[in-house]
Amino acid sequence: MKLFEFEAKDILRKYGVEVPPGVVVGKTDDVEARIKEAGLEPPLVVKSQVLVAGRGKAGGIKLVNSVEEAVETAKRLFETPIKGLKPSYILIEKAIPHDVELYAAIVIDRSERKPVVLASRYGGMDIEEIAREKPESIVRQYIDPFVGLKGYQARLIGKKIGLTGKALASFAMFLQALYRAFVEYDAELAESNPLALVGDKVIPLDARIIVDDNALFKHPELRTARVEESGEYTEWEVKARKLGLAFVELDGDIGVIGNGAGLTMTTMDLVYEFGGRPANFLDIGGGASAELVKTAVGFLMEMPKVKKIFMNIFGGITRCDEVAKGIVKAIEELGGLKKPLVVRLSGTNEEEGRRILREHGLEAYTDPIEAVKRVISL
């Protein structure tokens, strides 16, 4: 789960990092009063709190020179969709004059299976751009997850991106706070970009933290209505998340359900390969219950852009009989099949699954190629 900029900054502040003074406003707030309450003096930066990349280029960040201008800009940004959705919050911060923009991030390195600190003298752009334009500027330091980021490592990284003296000490302290956030919030990513160098100290102008969804249970304070507010998901993706479905909306018309991300993606690939266009990705995962299958089928049946559904199941820990029961339940609850449904069943308890479907007038395919051809032809 991606945290909002202001949430990430709150965490860093809690860990002793100096962040720009600011205030978060909602749509119904008296923005002028909130700015004055917070004692913020112009120039200010007004920042749309959305969770998509490229917010700056999309017009979501504005520098203003008066409180009135800030109020106006906030009003306008609330109505400005960034990549499709309007923000629920706006962060208004004191503008911090600075010369140098650094980059600092901590991510999990999949190959080394360790945290890796990434840092560069050339922040401001995204890491891909830095990697392309100044690849030699990216410093990497792998961290032993049991030992953690040591002070000496933080200083070494700072030194390698050209910092010295007090600026180096400030950067090292910032990195240790960022690492603490990374660990204590079970983060997949903790990043500041740009991390401004202001005289002798570093100040994060932006901050991003992505919390591992599997660890959210450890952080009940983070369970907010974020899904709707994030600007990260389409309307149907929001609905799906609330139902606990692993769902991504696409632009075609064939609803796709599979078990396992690999098979579901491959099912999409097959649909394309034989001339169709998938409307979505929907992975019922491993060991799905009849109830979850019913929810998934019902969900696609209700989604207008889905004209027909292709369900591709190869049972392992998932049992074909449970899947069949779920399909039957969905049909019964909907009072019959609303849209064409093509099912492919193989694997664990396959025969029992077929039998259940047959009893309800559905014939499951064995060969996915035949099945995909069939659904496209409908």
Partner: protein, 290 residues
């Protein structure tokens, strides 16, 4: 011969009394896997499908010192603890079926396992099967048959799909390993390939990848540098997945400019690997190099 599990494998099932643990214990026993014990805290003294259950791994190993492999069906919140218990009890191979384990926890136990010389397969994986000898996992056994093809895969169900298509084409498998779909896994492609390289039974390797990460690129590099010398055939899932979207719980996601379908295929083809466009092409490609 085979890879990591075989005739000598003696299994302890951790979480044996749970729904999945019990169900798959039955299927593994039916397949012929030698399961010597099960462990569920507080359930010691029971039996599950004739397998004695213990409260702790220490007790299970004391009674069954021949145990060398464990398979974990413990719920996510307790799974890491079970992994440490298995490692500390001296298991050589630990298969972690459980999904939704926090990635920081996985990162730690994988590093711990490495320091103790234990091989972790998974988490969030279907397990490992050496057809005809031992199935330590949740894959349907009947779709496999013994033969010369090694399989290493990031996707569970795609492994079944492809193994089944091989079996129907009359081509058997040496060992099939589902390494798991999480961002951090205990056994990577290249590590698995080191085992397959040494296995005389394996003549061809089928590599089943996904978008995201750089494990396929690293496999390609290993082949290119001559550290893996057997013919390799590959399939990569996610050709048509949109970048930047997380496909499924497991987190197949194209991030940080790496891990796109095109990059992976390019790297593999450069290393001389034939990449199938759809899984069903695999048997034909394998036949061509066998």
């Amino acid at each position: 011969m085979a890879v990591l599990v075989g005739e000598d494998t003696r299994v302890i099932v951790q979480g044996i009394t749970g729904r999945e643990g019990s169900f798959h214990t039955k299927l593994m026993l039916e397949y012929g896997t030698k399961i010597v014990a099960g462990v569920t805290p507080g359930k010691g003294g029971q039996e599950v499908h004739g397998v004695p259950v213990y409260d702790t791994m220490e007790e299970a190993v004391a009674e069954h010192p021949e145990a060398n492999t464990s398979i974990i069906f413990v719920p996510a919140r307790f799974a890491s603890d079970a992994v440490y218990e298995a490692i500390d009890a001296g298991m050589k191979v630990v298969v972690v079926i459980t999904e939704h384990i926090p990635v920081h926890e996985t990162m730690k136990f994988v590093n711990y396992a490495k320091s103790k010389g234990t091989v972790i397969i998974g988490p969030n994986c279907p397990g490992i099967i050496t057809p005809g000898a031992a199935k330590v996992g949740i894959m349907p056994g009947h779709i496999f048959k013994p033969g010369p093809v090694g399989i290493v895969s990031r996707s569970g169900t795609l492994t079944y799909e492809i193994a089944y298509s091989l079996t129907r084409a009359g081509i058997g498998q040496s060992t099939a390993i589902g390494i798991g779909g999480d961002p951090i896994v205990g056994l990577t492609f290249t590590e698995a390939m080191e085992y397959f390289e040494k296995d005389p039974q394996t003549k061809v390797l089928v590599l089943i990848g996904e978008i995201g990460g750089d494990m396929e690129e690293r496999a390609a590099k290993m082949i290119e540098e001559g550290r893996f010398t057997k013919p390799v055939v590959a399939f990569i899932a996610g050709r048509t997945a949109p970048p930047g979207k997380r496909m499924g719980h497991a987190g197949a996601i194209i991030m940080m400019g790496t891990g796109s379908y095109q990059d992976k295929v390019k790297a593999l083809e450069k290393a001389g690997v034939r990449v199938a466009r759809i899984p069903q092409e695999i048997p034909k490609l394998v036949e061509e190099v066998l």
